[in-house]
Amino acid sequence: MAFLHRYRLQLGITALLAMLLALFALLSPQTFLGGRIYISFLSTIPFIAILALGLTFLVIAGELDMSFPSLMAMAGLLFAEIYLRTASPWLGFVAALAAGGIGGLLNGLLVVKVGVPSIIATIGTQFFWRGLSALLASGLARNIASIRGTDFHQLMVGRVLGIPAQALWFLALAILLALLLNRHVFGERVLFTGDNLRAARLNGVDTDRVRLWLFTMMGLLSAFVAVLVCLEMGNWWPTQGEGYLLLVFAAIFIGGTSVFGGRGTLYGTCIGAIIIGIIEAGIISAGFSGFWTRLVHGLIIVVSVSIYATIFRTGRS
């Protein structure tokens, strides 16, 4: 009983996912009882999920990052451009990660050292990185279809026993980050920072350092996902990343992470990302119009966050 109570959030979100899958299987058995749709999900959901993992840390620490879609565009452009010029995907990968890390660190410095609230600072850098990538690319897409068939492509997004490699990358990152949050002192510091910044400082937690690391990590993960997306699609395009912003936040809040910081689960975020990732295909396979997609997204978000607010008595008083 104590187990059920302790993990009620995780169990609840898992039950929601199971119900959705059962409903879709009932409405469209030819799609949801076959394997292909799940392989398809495994090729796209990891992008949302990896971004959501990084952002969950920031939200738990009481911060936000609105700039990751633009940082994705910048890192993706560097990767594609360097690959096209040098034929070395590894060089492009390192450059992309460097750009992501620097972009994330810049966000962190603006928030921690300059004192700009994270939502404002990252809205600013969102415009900056999007503008810079558009400027450097002259608004033109980059076709990197020739990268298919390289070892790097196989390693990052190839198929391992039929499973998209990006799903394995996601799994490895999820385990690593879950250990970091739940089994490492750094995770404790993140939770403490988000729960009460002043109290955390008084207890000797270097909250500035913690937040700098988290912003940098988010930048690195954004760059990593940008490279995966470029590889999967064989292409870089100027609006890359823009579509992920709301979906990533939705995945986090469906997963039960508190918008006020101090509480959250990576498991919930992962399940939230899966729910967000399967809804559209489920609705379409069932024969409903695509106009239903947003309505169902909205309904699930509102219902789940309302349930969490009731269970945990969150809210501002």
Binding site: I37, N143, Q240, S285, G290
Partner: protein
């Protein structure tokens, strides 16, 4: 149609060159000193409006025009706001996208014309304003989305060999009033041909990040394995059909696929047989011809041009010639 446009462009260039030679003056650019404000319509770096911009920039360079570019994120309110900004700068001419419509633009265009600022529009027609101010250089360079949608659907019907009762899928943006006319025309044409047509609205997320379209196509094709024709009213999604179909376990030329707008990735998909037919509005011409027309009107009082740039169809037989231009942002 492509031939007509090419000839027209050639004619404009020859006219400009010839007029200089005939007058015996040194060949100084005809638009030298002219200031033109140009609303590209979309966002900075948008794939379609960047090609429009490239055409306008090239025309400005060829004619010595001082060009100022504006971006409206495809938002009619932004287009109106940008027009007001342009008016305040008192340029020689303004090129607008016609999306806000005649009623929204009328008082502003009246004000511009009263102040001797030339105005012309591209992409979407402003028929009432064009009728009113054609003699003062107001024209339209673009095409009717409905004609474009109908043309692609008819060509796809003829080339794919689908017949009455077959299933087709259209993925479009009906929610956009003007742009949506293209998807509606495709649906109407396919339905009139007796096909069973499934329509899906492109979500805002997939609209921006095409990677998220993979499960949509896999899901649809899993539950509608008898689909023989797919038409996509979206350039970026057309370019990713190879990825989508591969993920859905569909090989090249198994389903006939038609779409809009060229890009390097679309060219690859055509070459590999995952996309069969692409219709393009030839957006470069929108930029190039509108700037050229304003220069001609300012210099010699020519009336507004009304040119249909649509109807360009690209398939496997022509992609070899067009692909390098797509890479350079010209096609």
């Amino acid at each position: 149609m492509k031939t007509t446009c090419t000839l027209l462009t050639l004619f404009c260039s020859l006219l400009l060159a010839g007029l200089n030679v005939a007058s015996g003056e040194p060949a100084t650019p005809l638009g030298k000193g002219m200031k033109i404000w140009f609303d590209t319509g979309g966002p900075v770096g948008g794939p379609y409006n960047t090609i429009v911009q490239n055409g306008a920039t090239q025309a400005a360079a060829d004619l010595g025009v001082n060009l100022t570019l504006l971006y409206s994120e495809w938002n009619p309110e932004n287009m109106i706001a940008n027009f007001k900004t342009a008016l305040a700068a008192k340029p020689d001419g303004i090129v607008v996208m016609g999306h806000p419509g005649d009623d929204a633009f009328a008082p502003l265009v009246d004000e511009a014309m009263a102040g001797n600022i030339l105005v012309t529009c591209v992409d979407t027609d402003l028929p009432r304003l064009r009728a009113k101010y054609a003699s003062r250089g107001f024209g339209t360079i673009g095409t009717d989305p409905e004609v474009m949608g109908r043309t692609l659907a008819k060509e796809a019907l003829a080339r794919s060999g689908v017949k009455k009762g077959d299933r087709a899928f259209v993925w479009g943006l009906k929610r956009l009033e003007e742009r949506g006319r293209r998807a509606r025309a495709m649906l109407k044409t396919l339905e009139e041909a007796g096909l069973v047509v499934d329509y899906l609205e492109i979500s805002p997320e997939v609209d921006k990040d095409t990677a998220m379209g993979t499960p949509v196509i896999t899901g649809y094709l899993s539950s509608h394995a008898d689909c023989k024709l797919i038409l996509i009213d979206h350039g970026a999604l057309t370019s990713q059909m190879e990825n989508f179909l591969k993920a859905a376990g569909v090989g090249p030329d198994q389903v006939y696929v038609g779409g809009f707008s060229l890009s390097p990735a679309t060219a690859t998909a055509i070459e590999s047989g995952y996309v069969d037919l692409v219709s393009e509005m030839q957006p470069y011409l929108l930029g190039y011809l509108s700037v050229t027309q304003l220069v001609l009107t300012k210099s010699y009082g020519f009336t507004g041009l009304n040119i249909d740039t649509g109807g360009g169809l690209v398939d496997k037989s022509s992609i070899g010639k067009v692909a390098p231009l797509a890479k350079r942002g010209i096609r």
